[in-house]
């Protein structure tokens, strides 16, 4: 079911949350694929469904409040159809997950060594001796200076950067084929961010794992990613190789995002922003182009009634047709393709 180069294929994935007895799709009909040895970035504002997509892939949603439809193919298995037991064999072993806030994602009452060992206990037949050796090796690998001491410590005794390194060590403990990093640098300060990104990049080239990197930091995307998926309001609005996306952004949302990056060389002016905000799950317009409400100066006729993804260049997909007529507010526009 996976094509030769694909590691993970997501097809028509919809994740809906139950709010007051009706289901609202937070991830709406998303299809994408991750290749071996590739960093796929998923970008978008808060509330666009990035994290929901990631947590759906590892099956973290409980069945009481969430409905998942569509397929997630990995290694000829459909993750969307697995039961808890089958998922537990896969999680940690084949898919590693790095959380946003390392402090809350580490158990405050377990020593670092125990937390790293957890995955090894379930997925390997290592003896206790081998496990503790592997823990030290991993800590060393993620650049922790004194692995022996850190292994005995508790999460509150470490700095933010060290905690995130530990998180990465945990995710890597069983050499997963896929690493999902959900905003791995958001909770860290800028110097540490760079170190963590470098570390991820090095580890990725070493292990040849595929990484899904979820972020809203376009700087991170430019530095890390091979391919970028832009999500808005639960949908993929644009997908392109990283260079193509930065040089030739098409969808109004992507262009607005890029436009709102502060420019260091222009000294004047106010920061550019995107008008309005991401509509909440309940008020999300399900008909027509979902971004249209935030670019009201664009004529309604330029949107498709049922926006589809169009391939406008090899590997470059854009949803809706409004990009052909898009211009920033106050600029002359229209017709520039």
């Amino acid at each position: 079911m996976n094509t030769a180069n694909d590691l993970l294929t997501i097809r028509n994935l919809t994740t809906s949350f139950r709010i007051k007895d009706t289901y609202h799709a937070a991830v709406d009909d998303v299809s994408l694929s991750l290749n071996k040895n590739e960093v796929l970035a998923i970008v978008g504002e808060s509330g666009c469904g990035k994290s929901t997509l990631a947590t759906t892939v590892v099956g973290l949603h409980n069945e009481v409040n969430t409905k998942v439809s569509g397929d997630i193919f990995y290694n000829n298995q459909n993750l969307a159809k697995l039961n808890e037991q089958q998922f537990n064999n896969l999680r940690g072993n084949d898919i590693g997950f790095i959380f946003q806030d390392p402090l809350s994602a580490l158990n405050p009452l377990m020593r670092i060594s125990e937390q790293i060992e957890e995955g090894l206990i379930y997925h390997t037949k290592f003896t206790k001796q081998q496990r503790s050796e592997r823990v030290l090796e991993l800590l060393n690998h993620v650049g922790i200076a004194n692995p022996k001491r850190v292994a005995r410590q508790f999460p509150h005794q470490l700095s933010g950067g060290m905690r995130q390194r530990v998180m990465i060590a945990i995710a890597l403990s069983c050499k997963p084929a896929i690493l999902i990093a959900d905003e791995p640098t958001t909770a860290l300060d800028v110097t540490i961010q760079a170190q963590i990104l470098d570390l991820l990049k090095t580890l990725q080239t070493e292990t040849e794992a595929g990484i899904i990197l979820i972020t809203h930091d376009l700087g991170v995307v430019a530095e890390m990613a091979d391919r970028v998926v832009v999500m808005y309001a639960g949908e993929v609005v644009e997908e392109a190789p990283v260079k193509e996306l930065f040089n030739n952004p098409k969808h109004p949302y992507t262009r607005s995002l890029l436009n709102s990056i502060p420019q260091t060389h222009s000294e004047n002016e106010r920061l550019e922003v995107i008008q309005g905000m991401v509509p909440s799950l309940i008020n999300l317009p399900r008909e027509g182009c979902r971004f249209s409400g935030r670019i009201p100066w664009i004529d309604a006729s330029s949107h498709e009634t049922k926006p589809q993804l169009h391939e406008i260049a090899p590997g470059h997909f854009v949803r809706c047709t409004c990009w052909k007529h898009f211009h920033f507010e106050g600029e002359e526009g229209g017709g520039t393709v």
């Binding site: 590892v58 809350s104 158990n107 005794q157």
Partner: protein, 299 residues
């Protein structure tokens, strides 16, 4: 190289776990005193009772009836059947304490397990058990216990422990459930899941230790309560049979007006022991409760 190793040793960490408890007890002398006192008292009672001959103590000697304390080698006198009060007090205290410990352990083990399962899974399981608990809480516990005690044919220590445990787990389950509900939605639980950890391991190896501060307090105060409920039942005559001395049966001699007004040595020592035990355990429990909550700490 050697110098380097010395430098590494220097680090300051906030006090954790047992250190916080020790600091709290240092500040609260009453709790420290209670803790040492209660521990020594319980150990002394257990050791002394091991060397006592229960049959000898419980043998009826009518000639020694109502012997006053200090006479004929009766340290605390004798009751209306001439039985040594001192021996009865020690054995009674041992029985009461062991029964309270057993009830506390059984009831809390059940309550904690159910509470964590309810809080962690939520949804249907949670609703189901919460309704059952709501129902059980509306029942008049004392009356049901009394009825059960009367209708059970072969009634002894073991049966009493089971009956009391059957009603004690409810409050623990509610308490643990509310905490597990919030704890189970923390990121580290999801993180643990992404490593392929089974639900069972997450509940009892991940979440349970994070509830420990709450549970230690709950166990301690429950223990005091269980000493109370056993003695209370025995006093009313629905606890242990008279052949098994306990603090409650000893106090219940005071229901006889003659004993109450003139033979103080029969009921006073047991009453004082109950008072000391309950107060001491409560002081310890309160110190532990403060230690568990950073806002209330004294130390």
């Amino acid at each position: 190289m050697e110098q380097k190793n010395d430098v590494v040793k220097v680090e300051s960490t906030p006090p954790t776990g047992i250190q916080v408890v020790i600091r709290e007890f240092r500040k609260d002398k009453l709790a420290l005193f209670s803790f040492i006192g209660i521990t020594l008292l319980i150990i002394a009672i257990l050791i002394m009772s091991a060397f006592m001959n229960q049959d000898e103590i419980l043998r009826i000697k009518l000639l020694e009836r109502f012997t006053e304390p200090g006479v004929n080698g009766y340290i605390l006198g004798a009751d209306e059947a001439g039985r040594d009060m001192y021996g009865q007090l020690i054995i009674g205290a041992k029985n009461s304490i062991l029964i309270a410990i057993a009830i506390t352990l059984i009831a809390n083990a059940l309550g904690i397990a159910l509470g964590i399962i309810m809080g962690y899974y939520g949804g249907f399981i949670d609703n189901l058990f919460m309704r059952i608990i709501d129902f059980l809480m509306t029942l008049p516990t004392l009356m049901i216990i009394i009825v059960l005690v009367t209708i059970i044919p072969k009634y002894g220590v073991f049966e009493l422990i089971l009956i009391l445990s059957a009603f004690q787990w409810i409050s623990t389950a509610r308490l643990v459930r509310s905490k597990a509900l919030s704890e189970g939605r923390r990121d580290y639980v999801s993180a643990s899941k992404t490593m392929g950890t089974s639900d069972f391991a997450i509940m009892f190896k991940g979440i349970l230790p994070n509830l420990s501060s709450l549970l230690i307090v709950e166990l301690t105060l429950n223990f005091a309560g269980n000493v109370g409920i056993e003695t209370g039942l025995s006093f009313l005559g629905f606890g242990l049979p008279p052949s098994t001395p306990s603090l409650g049966t000893l106090v219940s001699y005071a229901t006889n007006p003659v004993v109450l007004s003139t033979k103080w040595w029969i009921w006073l020592p047991a009453s004082l022991l109950i008072l000391v035990l309950m107060l001491g355990i409560n002081y310890v429990g309160q110190a532990l409760r403060r230690a568990a909550d950073a806002k209330q700490r004294l130390g």
